[in-house]
Subunit: 259 residues, 4 copies
């Protein structure tokens, strides 16, 4: 089996302006996330990174076309992501690319576009302890994860998390302050799989924690497309009996895309 | 519209042997639950009660046939509920009767039979404070419920709650000790609607709390059947074109039940 | 209980240019839909209509603010619906307004925005017979609907219907040509409920059929909001213990909206 | 990665008494199913078979303990399967074993026990053509499957299929006679994954068809457990702060099973 081609995207703004973040993430948040995926999946993945400041944010059509799973982190500059790139990523997800959305990327353009809701939530950055409980044991994303997974200090996110009811709810968090959050959840959109994972803030060393890295790696494996071809569903007029010609179309046949 | 006919069932064992429970629930847990439903729904409901000690546990075929929504509380004597009565209730739910399953009734025969899983969970009775958070605002069962709903002291139930993924997850609880629980959840089974609601223990005054009673009443209203007839699905042989006779069968036509 | 305030929206383009449509729908498709809802729900509803050609498409902020359930029909002019109106409707749905999306409105801006997918499908307009089968008996939207519901002639819509997996799948259609379609499905978005119902084309008398009108009326009743206030979820910073002040906020408290 | 250990179970009654079935399935239905899985998955699987007539139906504790995925076919003798074996299989599924339920096994004891409903349906054995449409493209079970998959002749199964709403609906069938059926669907139960696949009758050569065999093989791969250990959830009393000892329990730790 060929390696899963992962592109780790990071806004990369805090790293260039906040000393505290530079100290926590000297290689950038993308560096930590990429290392975490690589450390868990080894030769089963090829990992590269891209950031907002790169031309086309590092997400050219060519990069997207050769990406099986894209991970997304953003916080301070959602509005600076170009609509053209968002449209490109959206089409790729519907066509089969996996997408891992992390933490404050709940407010990214791409996540809001895929969810269709406000994606709002409650928050507080006061060093709450977070406990992450597995409610879907046996799910590949929960494989090998402690119950609970303990994050000593992290930003708090609380319900209501305004997203569509997940196809699968995998993790629920509680925080020292008593709030709860649906921390790990999946949705299918088109042929693509989306996994949202809550933990991680630029002011906390969350992405250096072993178990968090393992969840992200599990997510990458789960979200990888099963089909080699990327197919965007399109409207098609079908004459009566079109499927009776003896030549059945594979579900990934590009001819299905003619409208 | 005719009133919703509610039967509040209670095991009633603790009330006859534990002084602490008699003090908290002088009219029995069933008395408190019935009062809570009546106080919220008034003339929109007719409420009666039944307990384990009654002949056929108070759930004769006649009682079940004239029940729109059944609420179930049990803890110490799940094994004493006769299989015949469980079978009767099961058929009624599949045929359209609503069922509200409360607290320790997660281990009742009828809930396990409807879920198909162990229905296990973690627990601790050490006066944790419980916070109940709404994750499905706009759902009829959440109508008018504070966010969070605070229960000053209650038994703790923690994940993993081994049930099928709910059709709709409405409430998530956190406890002082940090555990979380899917506290309000719904499942459709056959034509019937099932609502599980976590709070409430014989050693705590939970069923006297106003907001808890409102959730139960909301649940009753939501679980009430939409069809007047109760129809148990049955296997049927269908000749080609059976529906083309000009006489379409209503989805509740008893003739559909002939196999 | 106050009547449900329904606004029936129709693009209204075919009616002004196609003689065949004028003949089938002399009062417009909106006229037929409005009559169908009224004939089933009587005094439980107040129904008004609006079309694309009206100022602000008849969907001013005032109209939307006083609408409990909006029904939407469009086909030839999706692109002419202003983004401002789409935004207004989107916010209203997330805040609690019900939305019924009909037939070719699968390609409306508002439906695509709420779903996050392409909403494509296969189609053919060659007078297929459609059979609509109920797969969620006991659901309020299926109440009283024959199994199957037969539409003598209609446009064919076939899978793949590129939408998120429904929260509840209620109807599946088959067509003379052998195709199938998820014809009745619901999704929650924010506090609002969305019901998509497939049948109905401007070239067929579908909206005059009694059972189709009953499904639409059932949908209106199901989609009506349970809360009086419309609340758009917004991001909020929460200090530790904010809920312990003794004053719990109702889930519809507008103060929750301060970010 | 170790091969997936598959046990193909077949009632095997028709094969011993019906000449027509012997002719279609000289190696038994289990022989055809096993060959189909092997032909698709090769060295990634180890396949053995078992039938009703074997001691303990060939499903001893030892066999079950060394089975990753069990496939189940039955029709004429559901009642002869011992409750003890059903209990054993049920526990194994909740503990993580995959289960593929085929065709008339919708009425098997194990499927009914896992679903909690009647599992009834409509049927007709009159050589309908079946068209199987994919509604979850991108799902591993649909990988490489034509759209539609055409079965020239098969028994008809029609809705209502009285099962809980699937976690994931993958295939919908239509039949010459116009009926529809949710033909491919999945449910999680405990840590195990269940896949129901409709096609196949003892009087039709369905299990020799290439695409049908591929779906079954896809199902096996999807249902294989991710955890090495099988863990049956059990009720546990948890003292306050039990997870703070510095020693977190893995979600598959057998100590979690002590109640």
């Amino acid at each position: 089996m060929s390696p899963i081609r992962v592109t780790v995207w990071n806004e990369g703004v805090h790293e260039t302006r906040d000393a505290s973040v530079q100290k926590l993430y000297p290689e950038g948040i993308h560096g930590a996330v990429a290392a975490g995926i690589k450390e868990n999946l080894g030769d089963d993945v090829e990992v590269r990174t891209a950031t907002l400041a790169d031309p086309e944010h590092g997400l050219t059509q060519e990069v997207i076309d050769s990406t099986d799973v894209l991970t997304w982190w953003g916080h301070a500059a959602h509005g600076e992501v170009s609509d053209e790139v968002v449209e490109r990523v959206h089409k790729a997800v519907l066509g089969g690319m996996g997408l891992i959305v992390m933490h404050s990327a709940h407010f990214s353009k791409i996540f809001i576009k895929l969810m269709g809701t406000t994606c709002t939530l409650d928050w507080r950055s006061e060093h709450d302890r977070e406990l992450i409980w597995t409610v879907a044991p046996g799910h590949p994303i929960a494989q090998g994860i402690p119950h609970p997974l303990i994050i000593p200090e992290d930003e708090m996110y609380g319900e209501l998390f305004d997203v569509p009811q997940p196809d699968e709810l995998i993790f629920i968090s509680s925080f020292s302050g008593g709030e709860v959050f649906r921390s790990g959840a999946t949705w299918r959109r088109g042929r693509g799989r989306v996994f949202y994972f809550r933990p991680g803030d630029q002011e906390y060393p969350t992405y250096h924690q072993k178990e968090i890295r393992q969840v992200l790696a599990n997510g990458v494996r789960w979200a990888a497309p099963t089909d080699a071809e990327r197919v965007l569903p399109t409207v098609s007029r079908r004459p009566t009996g079109w499927y009776e010609t003896g030549e059945q179309l594979s579900s990934t046949d590009p001819r299905l895309a003619q409208s």
